[in-house]
Symmetry: C4
Subunit: 299 residues, 4 copies
């Protein structure tokens, strides 16, 4: 099904990256501003992330020797350093830039967006000593300027798009970035979240049923040689029953075998290596996709 799958290390059938958006309550403040402090229920729901869920998930993946990639807004890292330390302590895990306050990039000016990226990077560097090499847009809310900024600032990869089943390159004419795309359906909000505060009202899935969606994507990408990047939110999926379901999924993958478990940074390095040697040629997309409107006014 996949036209041009990359060769994966050691003859693996596919690459698997578990990625976590460690938002904590940043998302409540980013969505509601000053009104957020009058929303203790939503705040407690999301503070479960750094206090309980992220350490639990870090330990779970560490025990299974599966590295994870965590996108942590700068403010979250500064406010909950112990959660970040748990991520770093339990394995060869990676931190990625996820803005500073989880601001919606396309609602910012270019200068505001640049500042959020810089503050996010600085906070992660202070805690980990390492400059984050990758980015995921808060709310998947990329602006038309995001890729220019990421390339200018030297980021190695982005992982925000439902753009392909294998890595692609994004080229803005001045530089390139590896894009590590996400399957459109593997986000835990649309399985587990029913909350007026998050403007998300829907039937909640039992964990076994929710994980069928993730597993179906994995089974297909394993069969055809693709890249499986899953997106999880610890406050949502790090609860006991949901974490158990993740453990079952990891064990399903390990039992199947021939899977390369990697961080997004490791996958980026592998892809860059293939491109440098000419061993594999990814699809290249020019960004931004459009510089002038296709339809001038909203019809």
């Amino acid at each position: 099904m996949i036209d041009n799958p990359p060769p994966w290390p050691n003859g693996a059938r596919c690459a698997v990256a578990f990625s976590f958006d460690v938002d904590a309550d940043s998302v409540v403040h980013a969505s509601h501003g000053a009104a957020a402090i009058d929303m203790p229920h939503a705040l407690a729901h999301m503070r479960y992330d750094p206090f309980v869920a992220t350490p639990r998930l870090a330990r779970l993946f560490g025990e299974h020797q599966v590295p994870i990639t965590c996108f942590v807004p700068g403010w979250v890292a500064e406010t909950y350093p112990a959660a970040v330390e748990a991520i770093l302590r339990h394995g060869a895990n990676e931190l990625g830039n996820h803005g500073h306050f989880h601001e919606w990039p396309s609602k910012q000016t270019v200068e505001q967006e640049r500042e959020s990226l810089e503050r996010g990077t600085e906070a992660l560097m202070r805690l980990s000593g390492v400059r984050p090499r990758g980015y995921r847009a808060p709310y998947y809310g990329l602006s038309a300027s995001t890729y220019d900024l990421l390339i200018e600032m030297g980021f190695a990869y982005d992982s925000s798009l439902f753009a392909d089943d294998v890595p692609i390159l994004l080229d803005n004419g001045k530089g390139r970035l590896v894009e590590l795309p996400v399957p459109a359906s593997v986000d835990d909000y649309n399985q587990y979240v029913s909350s007026r505060a998050f403007d998300y009202l829907m039937k909640i899935s039992a964990p076994a049923q929710a994980l069928e969606v993730y597993r179906a994507e994995f089974d297909a990408l394993w069969e055809f040689g693709g890249l499986w990047v899953s997106v999880w939110h610890p406050a949502v999926s790090g609860r006991p029953a949901q974490a158990l379901a993740i453990r079952n999924l990891v064990e399903h993958m390990q039992a199947r075998g021939d899977v390369w478990f990697a961080t997004l940074g490791q996958i980026t390095d592998h892809i860059n290596g293939l491109v440098a040697t000419g061993a594999w040629q990814p699809r290249v997309e020019r960004v931004p996709f459009y510089t002038t409107p296709v339809i001038g006014n909203k019809p």
Copy 2:
């Protein structure tokens, strides 16, 4: 998975509290004000609660010797005293404060919120002779002042937050409160309610499927030693097919064994006892979570 589970009485694996928000039609009046009287369909839907469902559920749990905790708004207790009497007659059940008219706390001034709490307490005392020791916020809609009020008024516990998998303490600098958290997914509205009047439109689950969500949470908390507090609304889950499913769940738990079925007040006493003797140290959170905005204006 759970870092520091408390010891439960008699070596039980976990604690289980079935809690019911006995809202009756208070929620229609609270949401729609004077317009509510022109909504007979919504009113009848919710009056099913005191007239049919609450007595049924009280009897069902009484027969299974499982105590329940019922959060009853004061106005509901005054309007439907027979339902409250059924709760008290069928077992060692507990009444909790749920406001007076099921008003949304964060939409009230501090004085209005205090008055709702006082009127709710007075109504429950008049019927039961017992001062309610616990609270659940109507709509889960806690204000920034709620915990200050609860501590000032001497409440022993709250059960409104998705904050942890075990009890925690909330400390406002003047006093403390036991928080008995609820798993984020075990609320029956997101399985069974599809109603324009309640601004809730979604696919309705068959009871067997809905209960898989509750059961998965229980199975995980049983395995890891947590606290399972489930939230039900009699008008929603006290119908014959849904009540049968609850009965099946109770029997599943009883068959598994090593479960401590308790009211939230009993669990609070147990936790306070552990803290007093130093046998177990819960996590403590300072409330309110924030006193100044993290982000000043809504972005």
Copy 3:
């Protein structure tokens, strides 16, 4: 589970009434007014009802010798007389009042509501020669005046409320009405409809899964002696796969046995007979539920 189930004829375990809201495209006009004629897609979707689905369902139930109760707005009967004739031809079926244009009663003045009821009755009488004895409110949208009007106009029953698991009586001080309540979850819109035109966006169920909801309600009411009134819309549930699922449900009921299949009018007569002889005493509710607001202003 059911406190006081009525005795059903011939020792049946429960009573079953399949009821259909034969709305055709009235609902498009009622919801969108003059704009409806510019919505051919929604109109065609609903015209499937009288042209294809209602005759199919009437035949299907006729073949299984199960009578049905069809609530038909007056305008629908006038516009699609062949559909009404199919209902009357295929069995001892009953027509019920469903307003004239499927207007939302609580959005009408009392005089407008009276006129809709009268026009609806006249249209059904012209076609069938029989005055409809029962009513279901369009959109379940009862007004505070509906029951006064129904009692004044001599209706024998209503079937709009999720008020109980067995028939009850509604009393306005001047007269009484039998209420034949509907389980809260057995409406096909929340299983099968995903349409912007109807302001209903949700995941669509496979028929086998949707029917689990209806079947679970039946199984429980059969066990405990209740009344099962199901609500279907031919444009939604009269399509081939959905009609097949209904056939399977009917055959499940027939295989189980001891079921009294009846129209709502027959059930009303049975209840009135029990009341007259004192053989069974239903619960009585005073209507309207409220004459003054519980909470004066919308909070």
Copy 4:
């Protein structure tokens, strides 16, 4: 169940048409106008369609020797000609008119709608050399004028309505059109899409569960002799796991046998042949359905 099924070629039990709305990112521009260029996430999601999904699906169906019908907006064909070439290369596939920019017809003036139809046709002719004979309204958003325009412009068929289970004829007094109706539930958006950008928030299905809906419709139409027209969007259903599920569905149909797999144009020709010889008489609907409002003002 189906009153008057047409005879299908070679004694087939039913006719099956897989149809694809190859929207690419036209739908983002059509819905958001100039703001679309600041939505890279939504654009990338939909550009997956021409770059990855449409070629994959064309090849998949080609390998199974099942022809497909693709509705392609003119702008999409001009912007992504390689995707259209893939459709034409992999089998006896057909292109249908889907407007030019995927504009919502009922929000256009008649002249704007005519222009969209003409530009859509011209673009497809330039690429394929063939004038499209069929139409599906973007967003299913037919205007009251659409059928007059289609008949005036010589279109042979439309496939936008949930109007019947077999082909019907639409007659405007000046000419006729074959309508090839779609079952109401077989659209992949309501199974797989959860996206704020598309104003579609719902629980996402695992592919095996989503396909149960399509398969139930097929099984019923196969049993009763109907027409199964399924609607898919490559960006949604052309991903590896979802495409695998489609492959399983095709193989289920082929294993069952006696299925006529055809393009919508081939089905139109077959129906016109039956009508011409008098071998079968379809139902005829007069269009537009209404020329004056049924209810004058929005109630």
